[in-house]
Every structure is written in C-alpha cells, then in structure tokens.
Symmetry: C2
Subunit: 306 residues, 2 copies
C-alpha cells in the first residue's frame, strides 16, 4: 500500500471561486449554499470576495452574505481581498481570514492586476498589517504556480522564492493555484522539490487544482504522495465546465472527498451531505455541473442484484 | 521525481468499446475513424466485435469494417468475440487478435452472459483452440476487476486466481476492466498485491479504467507507480459521458497520452494527431465528447501575451 497522510483538510471554494465564474446568483442562494456546506463537516469555506462589483458582479453583496450566514463555530469563513480597501471591508463584514493572491508569473500578474509581482507583495504587506490589527490570519494564493498560459512553466525556484517572500511578509498559510489547469504530477514534483530545497514546510502548503485537462485527481494523488495535506475544491465542480472553452474546471469537492476516503485519508466530511450540496449548487446555477460522484454515486452504492 | 516506466503502450478502444455505447454509426465512419487512429502512432486498436447484431446493433457490420480498413503494418487490429462462433467470424474477417471477456464477479457474469465464471472460462478455452489453429493470439479482459455493481469489491485473490486460470488457458495477455467505474488507487494497490502474490507478471497486465467518478487518471498514476505499462483508452472519451446516468466513462486517449508525455512516459503517439481524431469522433457521433485536452489544448499550447 502507498504511503499517504491519514488526514487531509479541504477548503471549499465554491461560494467564491466557483460562483465568481458563473452568472450572478442572489445573495440568499449564496447564503443557503454556504450554510448547507457548513453542515457537512467542512471546516474551511471561501465565502465571498471584497472586490469592485463592476469588476466581478457575481461577488457583489459579499458583505450581506457574511452578515446573513449562520456561523458554525468550528468553520473558518474566508474572504478574498485584492487590496487594503477590500481588506477593510472584509474585516468590517467579520470574515474569519483574509485571502490574497499574487501570480508567480510576471506576465500573468501584470495582465491580471497591472502590477509587478514585487508591487503585489508590497500590497500584501499592507493587508497583513490591517489583518494583524484585527487579529485575523492572511492566507496567500500563488497563482500560475503550475504554469502560466503566457509564459509556460514558471521556474520552480521562482515559485519557492515567492513562497518564502510571502511567509516573510507574515501570511499564515500558502496555497498553490492551478490558474489555467496546467497542473500535472510532474509539475507537482518539480514545485515540491523547489519548496523543500528552499526550506518551505510543504505539509502546510495547500494545493488548488483544476481538472481542465483531466488530471485533477491524479495531481492530488501525486501531491499526497509528496506529503501535502491541504486541498482546495469546489462543490459540484462549480466554476468550470469541462465543455466550455476557457473554463477553470475546479476539481469537485465530492469527487475529491470520495477518492480520499476510499484511500483511507480522512477528511471529517460527510460525503452524502456533500453530494446533497452539489445537487443544491446545480439547482442554484440552473445547469448541470461537472462533478461526477454526484451523478454516479459513491462506488460503495451498489445496485440490487435481482 | 517519482519512479515511472519510460514507456507505456496504449490500446485504443473507441471503435469498439466506445462506439458500442453510442447510437449506431455507418460502417464508413467506423472505418474512417480507425484509419485516422492508425496514423497517430497507436499500435493497438480494438476495431470491432463479432456479436449478434440484435444484441449490439452498433457493432453490426464489423466484418465489413475489417474488410475496408487500410491495414497499417505495425498496428494490431483486435476483435471482441463472445463465443466460438464469433471467433470464427473474426478469424474469417482477418482480425489480428481475438479478445474475450469474463467477469471476476459471479453475479455480474451471470447477469451479463447467463453463465457461471467456470463456464465462461471453458468457452475461452475453446476460443483459444480456434485462435491457435489460425495462429492468432487471444487477449482476455477480466471485467469488474476493480469492483462489481452488485457484489461490491471482489476479493483481490479471486481476481488473481481468475488471471492465473486465463493464463493457463493459453491467453496471450490480460486486461483488468473497470466495468462500472469503481477503480481507485486503493483498489489498484489491492489487486496488484494479489497479482504479485499469485506470481502473475504485472508488467504484462493491461489496465482499463473509466472516469466515472473522476479518478480515471489518478488510477493510471497509481498503476504506473506499481509497474503497469499497458492501458486502454477511448478517443475523446467515446462511449461514456460523465453527464449521463449509467455512462461507462472511458478515459479519453488524448487526456491519458497528454499526462503520460508530460511525466516523461513515452507512448510513440502524436498527441496533436490524436486530438484531431477526437474531434473526428465527435463529428461522427454528433455530440460533445467528455475528453478535455481536445477542448483545452495541451498545457504546452500558450496564449499570446500581448
């Protein structure tokens, strides 16, 4: 048998990263989805983003969402913030943690936020200061960590160096983002090699994979074998349809949990309750989602033989 | 870096296993698809089945298909045969190898062919005799090897015992079939442990995975790490749509080859040519197929930065 961790923690990103890539849905539906997710055993939910509503209409009203959800005491509800102003809004809305993003690719970072990487890191330093005043942790995502759609594979050492800079800046945790689905087991190995060489503690690095090219769960397996214990996933695969061009293709939380449990990796999550949430997510966005276990059922669900 | 084989052989099953699960398409389209596939570097193509046309209308005319394809000299064109009569028809049609199937699950085998496993093995012995007379090899598939929809996980020792019986019966090679998508990395380990304990040479066992529950390529990675070097796959994911209930969900050949090449596992196949075949398959069946690399493009295909 292979050597895998006994336990993995899952961060649910459907209500933010997922819904952000869908047509806007009412605040009440976002609240309903988050509350359903918080009843599954999930301990970490990305609940909204404090961005300009003109830029991302689907995240408008995130302050209302944070005000209306029923807070489960053991769940961390996080908010994405692009800048200090967003951080202030998230703190006012009582987010449990702030999430910041910077790309490992200069080209991607510039196209995305019109800034050099070092300027983005400087902005993160400001956000960390605000978060510290409010006694909140900051989670950092390194996007294009597994590859940039403009530059191709970013040097693994550059990813590791940025990881070190962010930890130095005071972020609590790191996540490697698979922005356009370029993750692969080979790339996971290269990035982990570089992180280990740079002394970044890999067990604390969360991984965010897309299934854009079919290898989403293979990437997870590769990362588990390298000692990773934290993963992002999106309920039902919300936020990306493999049939649509340019889709983000988040791995589906229920497919991830199904595979982890089968391999003996505990998550503390109730898979059946998660599947109910995936069906709810589908109802909310009004289209079929790419998650597969919600359709096929867990492999343990047998058919009558007679 | 992980320890993977340098090379893997792929058997393309789209023209049989794939199309069998679609509405029937004209013989000319089947021939066109097979001829396109034989130009990609693939060396092994499941080209048809000699079954009763009333039972499987999509495979009617397989003799015509075998008569019309342009035979590439280094490609093996195989035919599925359910019984000695089918074997005779396949031999007459000049198939390069015969393929037989038996389930590791008594319940599944009985529901499928109304026979006990030992009766199916006896039938395979007859087919092997016919094949030997015609100087053809026989490939055997053990279905429900990763789990049965009626019985659940079949004892790995039972799978290994059946594998031994089939080798004793004179089949040239074995394939483990993931009939209803119950394969998982954990199950791969259990079956490989049993095969190794029984002295079955695992490097020669081909693996047939479905992506019914999202872990198709994770299963491939797990098997590669255990020394497997042969895989079945279906062009475009033909034969199963993850959105349809009861879909078989074959892994897509181009997604498999994309991941293998990225990990440094050679296949001798031209990925771009394979993607063209997937687009052709889509045209032939007239609907979107679940393959993802055909949609997203290989991860090496970059966008212009300006």
């Amino acid at each position: 048998m292979r050597d895998l961790p006994e336990w993995a923690s899952i961060r649910e990103v459907g209500p933010r990263d997922g819904l952000q890539n869908e047509d806007p849905v009412p605040v009440a539906d976002r609240v309903r989805l988050i509350d359903a997710l918080s009843g599954t055993g999930l301990r970490h939910i990305e609940a909204g983003a404090f961005v300009r509503p003109e830029a991302i209409p689907a995240m408008a009203g995130s302050d209302e969402v944070f005000g209306l959800i029923e807070r489960a005491p053991d769940v961390r509800y996080t908010a994405l913030v692009p800048n200090p102003h967003g951080a202030e809004r998230a703190i006012d809305a009582r987010a449990d943690a702030l999430e910041v993003v910077v790309s490992a690719s200069e080209t991607h970072n510039f196209k995305n936020v019109n800034r050099k990487i070092e300027e983005s890191v400087a902005g993160i330093v400001e956000i960390v200061a605000l978060a510290e005043d409010a006694d909140l942790p900051v989670e950092a995502v390194i996007s294009t960590a597994y590859g940039c759609p403009y530059e191709g594979d970013i040097a693994p050492d550059a990813v590791a160096e940025l990881a070190g800079q962010l930890l130095d800046a005071g972020v609590e945790s790191l996540c490697l983002g698979d922005t356009t689905g370029m993750g692969s087991p080979r790339r996971v190995d290269e990035v982990f090699d570089a992180l280990e060489a740079a002394g970044v503690p890999v067990a604390g690095v969360r991984l965010h994979f897309h299934d854009t090219r079919g290898s989403g769960l293979a990437n997870v397996l590769a990362a588990l074998e390298r000692g990773a214990t934290g993963f992002d996933a999106s309920i039902g695969g919300l936020g990306g349809c493999p049939y649509a061009p340019g889709a983000s293709g988040n791995i589906a939380t229920e497919d991830l949990v199904h595979m982890l449990h089968d391999m003996g990796v505990a998550t503390g999550i109730d898979l059946d309750a998660l599947i109910e949430c995936a069906l709810l997510a589908e109802k909310i966005v009004g289209r079929a989602l790419p998650g597969q276990v919600m359709r096929a059922g867990p492999r343990t669900r047998l058919a009558p033989a007679s």
